[in-house]
Amino acid sequence: MEMPTPNAAILARKAELLKRLQQVLPDDALISDEAETRAYECDALTAYKCPPMLAVLPRSTQEVSDVLRICLDMNVPVVPRGAGTSLAGGALPTADCVILGVARMNEVLETDYANRIIRVQTGRTNLSVSGAVEEEDFFYAPDPSSQLACAIAGNIAMNSGGAHCLKYGVTTNNLLGVTMVMMDGTVVEIGGAHLDAGGLDLLGVICGSEGQLGVVTEATLRILRKPEGARPVLIAFDSNEVAGACVSDIIKAGVLPVAIEFMDRPCIEACEAFAKAGYPMCEALLIIEVEGAEAEIAHQLGLIVEIAQQHNPVELREADDADEAARIWLGRKSAFGAMGQINDYMCLDGTIPVSALPQVLRRIEEMSAEFGLKVANVFHAGDGNMHPLILFDANKPGDLERCEAFGAEILKLCVEVGGCLTGEHGVGIEKRDLMLHQYEAADIEAQLRVKDVFDPKWLLNPAKVFPLSSTENRRTVCLAAE
């Protein structure tokens, strides 16, 4: 993956930059030692590494503002970082950048149950937001599988989803307001505790902008009362087509489960070997979860089972108690860990129309043979968000490149059938060069113009999201003017 050549002029001014940052930050918030900056050399896309020039860990919005003002003045690129769990390389540094980590800003600023909101600093982890309101039986709905570690800042940057977003939506649907620092140090407040911010929907465009428009330091999030209960059902089929048809029929029947997870045979086998959840060996497995009071759960599961029976499942397993429910989820929840144990893997997250599912799975299988790399599929079937896991061996020369080429073909296929490159992980560097498969040059240009407004010098996370060739002029023009 190509990254821009570090700017020698910037590197030459490292000492000056350090000195200016020392004037606005306490010593422990500034990391310049080469051994220590290495801790920030990558995120969860570990195939790519590059230590930053400096890393800063501010504790307040004011400190973030001071840092950005100085970096703007000195034309230094800034890469914002939440918890560094991006699977797309969203927080990958360049050698001439400052990593701005918000991890130390993790306070809960306000909880308001009457208005069903929580206001937090964005370094707070996703799960600990729910943790902060759990005693009142509330929760924060978006639940990316990295929720134990990932920060709200990163969730906002990538517009993160999760298994339960079929019912509750993704980050953008649960974000009511932000405090954001612009590249020039200006602090703006957008939205708040009211349901819709006035004016243009700036919140909507900031969420999912991958840290390219500003650094969000505080967020007002919607919290919800927990349902009385939830229960999954596991349904096994002897073909992907039938499982796909079953999902479609359930949705058409008016049942809206909170989650519909789909696993194919390679995935089931790997999970079974790893977690021993007792899954039936079959071609396709659905885990469907519904919520509500006992009577509602029973009613909805009744409908789902009735529909599933019409598709002749090879097995149908209902959970009679919490223990059985946990066993149904066990394999699915350990899917990524199971894959990691077998091999190195690359996790994609293209989204497709649900109707294209059988066709896409068939084609992926064919491509797997062509590329000579195994692939397992696990995904959120209700919303068509796929997670093909391509297995490869990082120590084998050429395997990573082959894996990336295979991944790119899968994502192009997703776009071809009417879907998109990424449903919840973001573009980062990983899918940057595929953007022109999804969008025309003019559509990309329109997005670049949005960044021009927020960050005219193109210093915030500049080498991400868009093909480097399409942003080159913007990235270099300001530096040349220096």
Binding site: A114, N115, R116, D137, C165, G169, V170, T186, V188, E189, G192, A193, H194, L195, D196, G198, G199, L200, D201, G204, V205, G208, R225, K226, E228, D249, I251, K252, A253, V255, L256, G292, A293, E296, T351, P353, V354, S355, H380, D383, N385, G418, G419, C420, L421, T422, G423, E424, G426, V427, M435, Q438, Y439, A442, D443, A446, R449, V450, V453, F454
Partner: protein
């Protein structure tokens, strides 16, 4: 024009309205425009900005409807009524309950989906399920340069590049003219029930709605009528489920007042959504967005002729004496939009933004509409 009253706002006769029949034709018109354009869907919002009238009415029809994928793609000028009828055949609906302003504004015409999206017009269910912008999956539009642009797509989850889909929703035609929208639709509920809590004052009414919305019973409507001193709470879903939740909620809300079940729940919420009570009354109509519990402080300070609270108090509709600037009376954070006003009012329709945000908005408008010809001045 001789027979028409003088019209400083640039009204033209019906036959002088431009109604392109294709996206390409629309793009040509915008690219070739040499003055401001007043963009119109069904004309039900009574928007009048200076300029030649340009209607999306010629861009009508369903491009794709896949009930099993909860996906609908339609051209922007498609009447909402047509869409709702189509969705009903599959027992589905637009879950954000688009508002129909005709009765409150005294306008005619057919609301179009493009107009709904451009104004992010969302009804009572917004409090639970989200606004129009939350259901919008993709857009095609023509920007102020006459360029056809696309963002988002037709799938439910999509974080590929910037979300200009949200930016277009609620941009009131000032960044571009929508030509096609993709929407997530949802199953229609099997049944609904509404509980009314009687003889309850404003403070208790809002507290009662907060309690209902903070319950595990998945409330999909929470309104308060200060005149009737009555709070309304709606439940939707499968019959058995609604019955169970109605019973549980009834017990829980009993401490606020006598709880009854309303007959004609559907009609009630349509009336609340479309402000039927404001129809034909004199005065300006304001739409105020605040933190729900702030409605308690807000309403007594307004001196309104009539108020209605939706979204648990977060949305306050106020009928004000003509020409009064409601914003001057607001003591709580939030924003207010002037929905209906007398001719020649000097009060801006949209809430003025703080300088830092106004600069961003103006910057975005410059990028998408450098000649400042699309609904110029409507938002700021």
């Amino acid at each position: 024009m001789g027979a028409l009253p003088p019209d400083p706002q640039g009204y033209l006769e019906e036959d002088e309205m431009m109604t392109p029949q294709s996206e390409a034709e629309l793009a040509d018109i915008i690219a070739g425009a040499n003055g401001p354009l007043c963009i119109e869907g069904g004309g039900t919002r009574g928007i009048e900005v200076p300029g030649e009238r340009l209607s999306t009415g010629g861009l009508s029809g369903v491009t794709l409807y896949e009930p099993g994928a909860l996906t609908l793609v339609v051209q922007a000028g498609t009447p909402v009524a047509e869409i709702e009828a189509l969705l009903a055949t599959e027992n589905q609906r637009l879950a954000f309950e688009p508002v129909d302003f005709r009765s409150s504004l005294g306008t005619e015409g057919e609301p179009t989906i493009g107009g709904v999206v451009a104004t992010n017009a969302s009804g009572p269910r917004r409090i639970q399920g989200g606004a129009a912008r939350d259901f919008l999956l993709g857009v095609r539009f023509v920007d102020g340069r006459g360029e056809v642009l696309r963002n988002g797509g037709r799938v439910m989850k999509n974080v590929t590049g910037y979300d200009l889909v949200k930016l277009m929703a609620g941009s009131h035609g000032t960044l571009g003219v929508l030509t096609e929208v993709a929407l997530k639709v949802l199953p229609r509920s099997e049944t609904e029930a509404t509980l009314a809590v009687e003889e309850i004052d404003l403070a208790a009414g809002i507290a009662c709605l907060s309690a209902a919305l903070g319950s595990p019973f998945d409330v999909t409507g929470a309104a308060y009528d200060p005149d009737a001193q009555r709070a309304y709470v709606r439940l939707e879903g499968f019959e058995a489920s609604v019955a169970y939740r109605a019973k549980a909620l009834r017990e829980q809300l009993g401490r606020y007042g006598a709880v009854t079940e309303v007959s004609g729940s559907g009609e009630l919420w349509r009336g609340l959504r479309d402000l039927h009570d404001f129809a034909g009354l004199e005065g300006d109509i304001w739409r105020v967005s605040v933190k729900p519990t702030d409605a308690v402080e807000l309403i007594p300070t307004l001196g309104a002729t009539r108020c209605l609270c939706d979204w648990g108090g977060g949305l306050v509709w106020a009928l004000m004496p003509e020409g009064v600037d409601l914003r001057q009376r607001m003591t709580v954070p939030g924003h207010a939009t002037l929905i209906r006003s007398g001719a020649g009012t000097s009060v801006p329709r949209h809430h003025p933004e703080p300088a830092s945000l106004a600069a961003i908005s103006a910057g975005l408008r410059r990028q998408f509409d450098p000649r400042h010809i699309l609904n110029a001045g409507l938002m700021g």
